[in-house]
């Protein structure tokens, strides 16, 4: 088994020779760490340690590193969100714990861990306890094929983007488990909404990716980044980017699609009954998904680790992720929530046609210019996207169903005759 492509930082022999230290750091967080381990184990006992053991150890080490990046990122994304929301709302945000409130996430974490973990008596205890795990594990799995920098990828899957789409939709099983097992009607409502939402938005999400994949000709995320040679895919795919951003907002249950935990309607949706660290785990899952999807958007549309100025690749990557996360927070601070039927309308009647149009147009462009798209297509693409979105919004919009007067008799007997 070729070890070098599977574990973080384990590069082929001779890869690092002649490189300066700055260049090495530009390529990887921990230059040569995996490399050294790899070589140490392989070199000390030639033929002694079997390949599968090296594979397992390096895989675990890499997984540990990547999961920790996600887990340490989550508290600071939450802090960023609270700070930014505060600014949007003429407030200061957390600033008491530590310098500029930097230790606030730690305080929150300690509070959550010391809090009593309450399980409702009528809840299905096994499923109730399992649900946060089922929710959070697929989200963490999503980080495996993310290319943080050239060659810095935990699992360089050839079907990377397909894997991510498959894995992230599994997280909703956890949501439904949590909602169902809580034995709370608000939780159930939230859980049922999320199933409807995910089923609807998975389709435009995948179809929006198709355009990018057609341009690159590969499902491998690193190859997609490499494929964006001079300009990011955003410029070739403005329509796809819009559809993907909206679909990702829905997939992440962010505003204006946060209807599964709509606090003004459903108290807090599927995690109404959760408390303590179980709630914390759900929170981690949600925000880790935001980080992960921001990474995917950066990879697919914003040319991942590449940037116009010489800066380490992972810094570019994190910078782009931060911009996208801030965008999500901005939207959350500004826009009211859509109603459930309006969300379905938007998904099926607005995003789906747009995604299909995008695929057709991209295919046409690729057929017309098989050797690479000309630069003048960029303004044309943007103008086209603007027109299509405007026309579709006018024609299809987000208007939902009108009032449904139920012919059924009144339910509460006391009000029957009034």
């Amino acid at each position: 088994m070729p070890v070098d492509r599977l574990a973080t930082g384990c590069q082929p022999l001779g890869f690092w020779d002649g490189m300066g230290l700055w260049e090495q750091w530009g390529i990887n967080f921990f230059p040569r760490l995996g490399d050294t381990m790899c070589r140490a184990m392989g070199g000390a006992t030639p033929g002694g340690i079997p390949d599968w053991l090296i594979f397992a150890i390096l895989g675990l080490a890499g997984a540990f590193a990547v999961v920790n990046v996600a887990m340490l990122g989550v508290p600071y994304v939450i802090l960023l969100e609270r700070k930014l929301l505060g600014r949007f709302q003429h407030r200061v945000g957390p600033n008491r714990v530590g310098f500029f409130g930097l230790l606030q996430p730690m305080a929150d974490g300690i509070k959550l861990m010391t809090k009593e973990d309450i399980t409702p008596r009528v809840a299905d205890k096994l499923v109730f306890s399992l649900a946060p795990l089922v929710f959070v594990v697929p989200v963490l799995l999503m980080f495996a094929p993310l290319p943080w920098a050239p060659h810095a990828v935990l699992a360089d899957l050839d079907v990377g983007i397909l894997y991510i789409v498959a894995v992230t939709s599994a997280a909703e099983i956890g949501v439904f488990m949590g909602g169902w097992s809580s034995n709370n009607k608000f939780s159930l409502f939230g859980a049922m909404r999320v199933v409807a939402l995910v089923v609807s938005y998975e389709i435009p999400l995948v179809l929006a990716i198709v355009g990018v994949v057609m341009l690159t000709g590969s499902l491998n995320l690193a190859a997609i980044v490499e494929g964006q040679r001079f300009v990011p895919n955003l410029l070739w795919q403005p329509l796809g980017f819009i559809v993907f951003m909206i679909a990702v907002s829905a997939e992440l249950n962010r505003a204006p699609f946060d209807l599964l935990e709509a606090d003004s309607e459903l108290v807090s949706g599927f995690h109404t009954e959760y408390s303590g660290m179980k709630w914390g785990v759900i929170q981690i899952g949600e925000y880790a998904a935001i980080i992960g999807f921001s990474g995917i958007i950066a990879t697919l549309f914003l040319s991942g680790w590449k940037g116009p100025a010489p800066m380490p690749g992972y810094l570019w990557f994190v910078l782009k992720m931060g911009m996208i996360i801030s965008g999500f927070i901005w939207v959350r601070a500004t826009i009211p929530r859509l109603r459930v039927d309006q969300i379905m309308n938007l998904g099926w009647k607005f995003l789906l046609p747009l995604a299909l149009i995008n695929i057709f147009v991209t295919a046409g462009e690729i057929l017309a210019y098989p050797d690479g798209l000309p630069v003048w297509l960029i303004p044309v693409n943007f103008a086209f996207a603007a027109i299509v979105v405007a026309v579709a919004a006018r024609l299809l919009g987000i208007q939902g169903q009108p009032r449904q007067v139920v012919p059924a008799p009144p339910v509460f007997e006391t009000m029957a005759s009034s």
Binding site: F186, E265, T334, R337, L338, G397
Partner: protein
């Protein structure tokens, strides 16, 4: 094959983020669609009407603060008007001007609260609420200046107001008046053109003029349905007949109309406050009345156009120092009569917005 289905009954409240206090709705859902609603009241019942029977006429003013704690000034005003009508007296002109000015400031503050919470109910996470609270804070500061309290003001007295305006009030009011029109415009620009807001509010929660009148709905909810009825114009009390202002009227009676109408009413209130400030006469702010009031036996009904609707006090006197009966016609409570008809057939998400657009206050509903 038909599956047997049955509606799912959910208790919304008394502890729920968007019931604006402690209100409970038993709702039967068919999926997301509301099939039946039964409102349950009384979680904040304090027996104000009974307590009023055991207090002197002046002491009752403190009880009225606690009715609609978002708009205590107008509650004060309605009560003192009723007592004045019972005694057959009228406050001096300066007192009336101060009262009207306070009532209109209160209307702005109350409508700001409604707009903020309406948007909050719709899912705009806190931002509109914080904007509106920032502006309401200025009004509460003005109240603090005149009477020392921000919420439980107890500012109005039978025959006038408790104290004259302090000298620092007028400059502060001018600063406020210079600022607030721009802030209302900001709110309108931020909110009214929003595509999602329009999709969520237009043609949602329709209340026909016929149903509104028959259901005794008053206030902005009635006017949004297209009925031109504002007590300040139709039955002017105090000095409203000397002021120039318009009464905005809605067309459809949907959530959007109720929301936009309140924005417009705030502008008109600013106009009224400005006129009050300019026309403010000199003279006493309060009649010289004995400590214990003994109105002649009889009954009187005093009413004002409160931010939520017609707020009335029906007072019966037996000639003693305490009201024999003090019945409160609370607009929030009576506006909820039509709630059930408005909700059936809409979805869960619309329930909170329709309820929010009626703008009820639980302190006033349960009294």
């Amino acid at each position: 094959m038909t599956l047997k289905t049955e509606p799912i009954t959910v208790n919304i409240g008394p502890q729920h983020p968007s019931t604006h206090g402690v209100f409970r709705l038993r709702v039967a859902f068919d999926g997301e669609v509301i099939q039946d609603v039964e409102p349950v009241f009384g979680y904040l019942h304090r027996g104000s009407e009974k307590l009023a029977e055991e207090r002197t006429y002046t002491q009752v003013v403190t009880l009225t603060d606690r009715l609609d704690y978002v708009a205590p000034m107008t509650s004060n005003q309605a009560y003192v008007l009723a007592v004045e009508r019972l005694m057959g007296i009228e406050a001096p002109e300066r007192g009336q001007y101060i009262r009207v000015m306070m009532a209109e400031l209160m209307r702005i503050a109350s409508h700001l609260m409604m707009i903020g919470f309406f948007l909050q109910d719709m899912g705009a996470f806190g931002t509109p609420l914080m904007y509106t609270f920032r502006e309401r804070e200025d009004i509460l500061d003005l109240f603090e200046m005149v009477c020392g309290a921000r919420i439980t003001v107890t500012y109005m007295r039978v025959g006038g107001v408790q104290a004259d305006l302090p000298p620092e009030f007028t400059p502060a009011l001018e600063r406020f008046l210079a600022k607030i029109p721009g802030q209302i415009d900001d709110l309108e620009q931020l909110l009214s053109g929003n595509e999602i807001l329009i999709a969520r509010t237009k043609n949602v929660g329709l209340l026909s003029a016929e149903a509104a009148i028959n259901g005794s709905v008053t206030g902005p909810a009635l006017r949004a349905s297209g009925v031109d009825w504002d007590l300040r114009k139709s039955d002017p009390y105090e000095i409203y007949d000397q002021l120039e202002f318009d009464v905005p009227i809605g067309e459809n009676g949907d959530n959007y109309d109720r929301f936009v109408l309140r924005l417009e009413e705030m502008r008109q209130s600013v106009r009224i406050v400005r006129q009050c400030k300019e026309q403010m006469p000199g003279g006493p702010h309060r009649l010289e009345l004995p400590m214990l009031l003994r109105p002649p036996a009889g009954d009187a009904y005093g009413r004002v156009e409160a931010p939520k609707g017609e707020l009335g006090f029906y007072l019966v006197s037996d000639g003693s120092i305490a009201p024999y009966r003090c019945a409160i016609r609370s607009p929030s409570f009576i506006n909820l009569t039509v709630l059930r008809d408005m909700l059936i057939g809409w979805k869960l998400a619309d329930m909170v917005t329709i309820f929010g657009s009626l703008d009820v206050n639980m302190g006033e509903v349960d009294r």
